[in-house]
Amino acid sequence: MWVMTDDSTGPPAPDVAGVLAGVLRGDDVAWRDLVRLYGRRVFALAKSRCRDDELAEEITQSVFVTVASTIQRGGYAEQGKFESWLFRIAMNRLRDEMRRRSRQAEPTDPSTMVVTDTHAPDAASNETDPEVSLLRRSISELGDADREVVELRHHAQMSFKTIAEHLGQPLGTVLARHHRALRKLKELIENARVDSAREIEGGES
């Protein structure tokens, strides 16, 4: 059974339950379908945090290696929560990587410090659209819990119900957190625009 993804660019995707049944039997075709179903979603979640295409792909690969190895060892029992399990692996892997990078990034010599222009386009993704850049920057200013809900919902395309399962929180809490995050993002974007307009006015006068 095949269903359409919400990404209109992609081909029809196979049914999750059928794919998982095939994967648990060790079926290569089913594994390929699983990668098509979830690969980009894991990638988008990783890229949202690390802002690096290559690293995001490495993290995605590492997540799928863990999934395949665990299934091969019989460590996964299908209970209808595969998506929650997959993205838990992804978030843990992502947090580990971000911690490792933050430790490596600590400068020991002041002369090696580089001043980062937070208003500059995202160099790693060649981002030139100021609106996209502003939205990314605003997401990074959210608290960890709010940011996680936003990324799981809009980058990983998880339903609110699955996010609630994933986080182990009531559905109402997840919905409230999502609304709060949207409101905070709206404020951040509006404030940034006001600041930008003032800078322009200041420069002209």
């Binding site: 990404d7 988008a44 792909e57 609106e131 997401i139 395309q157 339903s159 609110f160 919905l175």
Partner: protein, 169 residues
């Protein structure tokens, strides 16, 4: 409310819909930004693990090598603490008076004190004796009596002794 209804953007408050739509576009853009051949590479790198054909990544035994500055800090800390401990032990051994001194030392001190007091008394007595006429006369009288007793003893002859012996027998 069903899960689908919950996920419907129309359930979002109107003033937040534009922000949500931006996030949806961003998410879509990120998912579409994979490099060409992404899924093929991913399948090629992971499919073997599903069949157990590829071993898990080898365990890396990492050795944490401390930096030079850290070694110096550690050495300095050990030196300071060590010097403190040695100094404390040395001072403790040097400055403390034994609570219970040896008995020999206590006895010696006592004898020395007694001797000193006797000597001083003797000296004062001798001085007094030499300077006192009365004491000198007394000495002379005592000497005379001593001489008389000696004479009486010498007069007490063997005959009287023999007589006393016979009486006792």
């Amino acid at each position: 409310m069903s899960d689908n209804a919950l996920n419907n953007p129309s359930n979002t408050p109107e003033d937040l819909r534009a922000t949500e739509a931006r996030l949806e576009r961003l998410g879509h853009m990120e998912r579409a930004s994979v490099r060409p051949g992404f899924e093929d590479r991913l399948v090629a790198a992971t499919a073997g693990h599903l069949k157990g054909l590829e071993a898990d990544a080898p365990v890396v035994l990492a050795t944490i090598r401390p930096s030079r500055a850290r070694v110096f800090r550690l050495a300095a800390s050990i030196a300071v603490v060590g010097a403190g401990v040695i100094g404390s032990v040395w001072l403790a051994g040097r400055g403390t008076t034994p609570v219970n001194p040896p008995q020999e030392l206590a006895a010696n001190d006592s004898i020395e004190t007694d001797l000193a007091s006797v000597n001083s008394e003797l000296a004062s007595l001798m001085t007094e004796g030499e300077n006192s006429v009365a004491v000198s006369d007394e000495f002379s009288a005592l000497e005379s009596e001593l001489a008389a007793l000696e004479t009486e003893l010498s007069d007490f002859g063997w005959d009287e002794f023999d007589g006393l012996l016979e009486e006792s027998l």
